[in-house]
């Protein structure tokens, strides 16, 4: 039962990753592209958590944590570059 639910969740998260990539390609302005990249990082964290549940291991949480930190830092850096023309002034 858990296997079936995990496979359904894999399909749903993979579909949402494709939809976020569609928004990344379409734009139409830079805020939408930053938001689409942020959403893709969130979906990648969800896929890593699902892989960890599916294989029954605990070793994937460090990678999920690193994805969360790098996603936040890259979102803030991109937004700050657009806002100020520079990241560290």
């Amino acid at each position: 039962m858990i296997d079936l639910a995990l496979h359904i969740a894999f399909g749903a998260v993979a579909l949402s990753q494709i939809l976020a990539f569609v928004r990344l390609l379409k734009g139409p302005n830079v805020g939408d592209r930053i938001l689409a990249l942020d959403t893709m990082v969130i979906n990648a964290i969800a896929i890593i958590v699902l892989v960890g549940m599916n294989w029954g291991t605990q070793v994937y949480y460090e990678s999920a944590l690193i994805f969360a930190m790098l996603g936040f830092v890259s979102t803030v850096a991109l937004a700050r570059y657009v806002l100020r023309g520079d990241i560290i002034e």
């Binding site: 639910a5 998260v13 939809l19 302005n29 942020d38 979102t75 937004a79 806002l83």
Partner: protein
């Protein structure tokens, strides 16, 4: 019997998390203005990933050695999601794609994002 109840709980939270993540991305594609699009994926980053991590914790306690270190990811995401949403909404306001205008800066200055030649494209 108790294992069945725990399994149903795990399946419930996995499905809830997957549905919230899918709804967030559908909203990202389907809504028609930048501020509306900003509203949808924040559900995916808080409720969606939160429900999946809750299911993962219940799964670890039921079938493996119990662990609580998913709480770290959850706490980090819940702290950083509003900050990045605030930054993206500031980008939308300053790039002039919404009706709102930023307040005047001090000393008759101009915001750096609005001090651009008009043909600048990113």
């Amino acid at each position: 019997m108790t294992e069945t109840i725990v399994d149903i709980l795990i399946v419930f939270w996995v499905i809830v998390g997957a549905v919230f993540i899918l709804v967030g991305s559908i909203g990202l594609v389907k809504l028609n203005s930048p501020m509306k699009r900003l509203h949808a994926p924040t559900k995916a980053s808080t409720l969606g990933v939160g429900a999946l991590l809750l299911a993962s914790m219940i799964n670890a306690f039921a079938h493996h050695d119990g662990s609580l270190h998913e709480m770290l990811i959850m706490a980090f995401l819940f702290v950083t999601a509003p900050i990045s949403a605030h930054f993206i909404s500031k980008v939308n306001i300053h790039r002039g794609v919404t009706d709102a205008t930023p307040p005047k800066p001090q000393n008759d200055d101009i915001w750096a994002t609005q001090d651009q030649p008009p043909d600048r494209t990113i």
